[in-house]
Symmetry: C2
Subunit: 451 residues, 2 copies
């Protein structure tokens, strides 16, 4: 019988996270203090983050131990399965081998708990009472709410207003976990009130929601801020995905020629890719990395690499990243997790060093890929994950044209059970492709800070 | 470290289903032909079901081999994890040990694919082109649609109209898998047209949807009918759940004092309980079985054991079961999977023989249990599954009062990600308890056929 699944035992859950900073041929450009424009220090970040997370953010240690308390919670659903997509291969009639890592088995249905759990743990260990965060469609907010519930922390989530109103289900999940969910912009913060004064009907953005959550953390001693992507320590926590894949592909006697991940802030892509990239940088096998983003939010493919703020109100430090400008508001499309104006500095750096490629795909092709995947493999991917699937199908079709038996590894970062309205709209022909016009991007970029 | 999870390897996926009929102290009363009222034969059932499934339906063999092609698909998500609910135990401050079997990791998020896959397989192997079925909230329909997609069969689903209109998400999942979903009652069948003629605004019931699907199968040579619960072969296919639990609890060095499952048609309850009951009947350890149903559809606790039809139009054979009458329409409550008027004959028989207890719980207590479970264990249960959780909490609280360290095993048959509207309504205080009045039950029962 042809094997379709590769499982690891609990003992094989990685004991350490992998930190790519240890192996980079060129150091990551420093994060800058928004006032002084000097490299940020641990003290500067102390009002916002738990100390252990700040240390991880700035660390260049290659391996960072995963605390037993964190492993214990992660083990509820990890190690996650790696699948060989044999039925999809057959449907595509491709000589390529397609593997997918399935992160949808977590309690909230995505990869987000991989970092929510350690973030909640460290904050609790340091005596923090409450965590403030932002969320777009709610994958991150619901995952953090779950982790806070496990560790007995209060959780305050600023949810982008348009999603708060249109997507009540992940919000309901946050409620169920006992979190407080506030539509952003709100009148609970100075930055929120300022935006509402100028535009009472503002439907919000991730940048605005970040401003509100950061403000609450900065102005309350018992509260810290958590972010679900972008930052080094978040990417670090996601490396359990790729570390598991390394072991699982060894079981399969295989190694990827190409690894595909979708990119919003960059964490699931980094989580699967960085451990393989580390192997390569330490003299191991070459591998092609492919970061896939929506054409409607083309951060990597159309945004320059520049210092920019992570939020709209410019409360965050300045990070060097691919960005569409902190004022960028993406057009309506259905991958709530891929709408951020910026990109993880570490992912941006890797692309800049030529260690990864990036690709933008339109949403109609992505939803079509999601349907094809569902019919072959039985799993309906989250709209975000369909971007990775669409790129994998492109690669498999290229392999067919070129008659190459390459190995493709895809990060299937979440299930689509919360996102069926998007599939309904797609199947009803209501969705359109939207490529952001270059002149609008230029306008959005005109406000970049001069550093 | 205290273990929280018990996993099995692929090799430990049961090679055979367990058939309780082999060990019953008293044979199951026969199913009767609706015309002759004589025990039904294999030939009578041939227009409706694949031959292999008819053989299983009538079999008294103890172990029935699971075909390799079926095991191969099941292995995508099986064996499913067994968890020790340590955080819930702590929250309840109970001396009891609570284990839960987690069936929500399947592609459609519930236990239903355990039988959808073999049913699709056998039909495909026998050259059937199309399968007709019914679904309430859509757990079964989406699972069968998934299985049909895997085996290349057409799938026609009659979905209860009120759910078709109010719950578009599982319908969208069926669409994604390529199934055809029709609101029932419909004008595509004689039984549907007849009902619509008498009541054009009829919002449907499972009994009506069954009539439509059965009619289509009976009148088309290339089409067979599939049912997602109630029948012997369906319960048989679900025994993989309990068979896995037996091995997993052996790993844990434990054995259940009580096993809890929710009952709509009875298949997930039977799936977890029957293998343990078989052990007991063959001289093994005693175990208390607890079937939990909604107070708003009290089939086991208020319905008599009687011969009745499985559908509204009286096209199905007559089965001896606990029933509220085939004309019974349950009040509005939020567990779409638990709204059937009848109960699996095998489950009814087991209750009648005193081998299991039954319990009805109101939905407010169930949703409260669901929230408590989510906050402790991170997983939000489907409304159906909250009935089992609520009963487990009752048992754990009894253990606390009596200071007994009993072992409780719960079947957590599905996740609630498709059912967040129900949680929204619950948290907003919009749900009410509804105990069916005895006089209305008496009225519904007055139409029972005389056998």
């Amino acid at each position: 019988m042809n094997v379709i699944k590769y499982l690891l035992s609990d003992e094989e859950l990685p004991a350490h996270w992998y930190n790519l900073a240890a192996d980079l041929p060129e150091a990551l450009p420093p994060t800058l203090h928004p006032g002084t424009r000097e490299p940020i220090t641990s003290e500067d970040l102390a009002p916002l983050f738990a100390q252990a997370l700040i240390e991880q953010e700035l660390s260049t240690e290659r391996w960072i131990e995963i605390p037993e308390e964190v492993r214990r919670v992660l083990l509820q659903w990890r190690c996650t399965p790696l699948y060989r997509a044999r039925r999809l291969e057959e449907a595509l009639d491709t000589p390529a081998k397609i593997y997918y890592k399935w992160e949808g088995v977590s309690p909230s249905g995505s990869h987000k708990p991989n970092t929510a759990v350690p973030q909640a743990f460290y904050n609790q260990r340091e005596g923090i009472r409450r965590i403030a965060t932002e969320t777009g469609a709610g994958q991150w907010g619901s995952s953090l709410a779950m982790a806070c519930s496990v560790f007995g922390l209060e959780c305050l989530v600023y949810m982008v207003k348009v999603s708060f109103n249109q997507k009540p289900y992940r919000r309901a999940l946050m409620d169920a976990y006992g979190a407080t969910c506030v539509a952003s912009p709100s009148d609970t913060t100075q930055s929120g009130r300022e935006i509402l004064r100028n535009d009472p009907d503002c439907t919000g953005s991730l940048g605005i929601a970040i401003s509100e959550a950061v403000e609450v953390a900065a102005s309350n001693d018992d509260t810290r801020y958590c972010l679900g992507s972008v930052l080094n320590h978040v990417l670090l926590h996601q490396t359990v995905i790729g570390l598991e894949c390394l072991k699982q592909l060894e079981m399969a006697g295989d190694y990827p020629d190409v690894i595909v991940g979708c990119t919003g802030g960059g964490s699931n892509y980094a989580g699967i890719c960085f451990p393989f990239l580390g192997e390569k940088l330490r003299g191991g096998r070459d591998v092609r990395l492919l970061a896939v983003e929506p054409s409607a939010c083309p951060t990597l493919t159309k945004g320059p690499l520049a210092y920019d703020y992570g939020d709209t109100a410019h409360l965050t430090p300045l990070v060097k990243m691919h960005t569409l400008g902190s004022g960028f508001v993406p057009a309506g499309f259905h991958s709530g997790g891929l709408r951020y104006h910026g990109m993880a500095p570490m992912v941006s750096h890797v692309i800049n060093l030529g260690l990864s490629q990036a690709l933008a795909i339109n949403q109609l092709e992505c939803f079509d890929a999601g349907i094809r995947f569902a019919r072959a493999e039985g799993i309906i991917p989250a709209p975000e994950a369909t971007h990775a699937v669409a790129a994998a199908i492109q690669e498999a079709e290229r392999c067919k044209r070129e008659d190459r038996r390459e190995t493709i590894l895809v990060n299937l970062c979440g299930h689509g059970h919360f996102d069926m309205q998007a599939y309904i709209d797609y199947q009803a022909g209501k969705l359109k492709d939207y490529a952001y016009p270059d002149e609008e991007i230029a306008l959005a970029l005109s406000g970049l800070p001069s550093v």
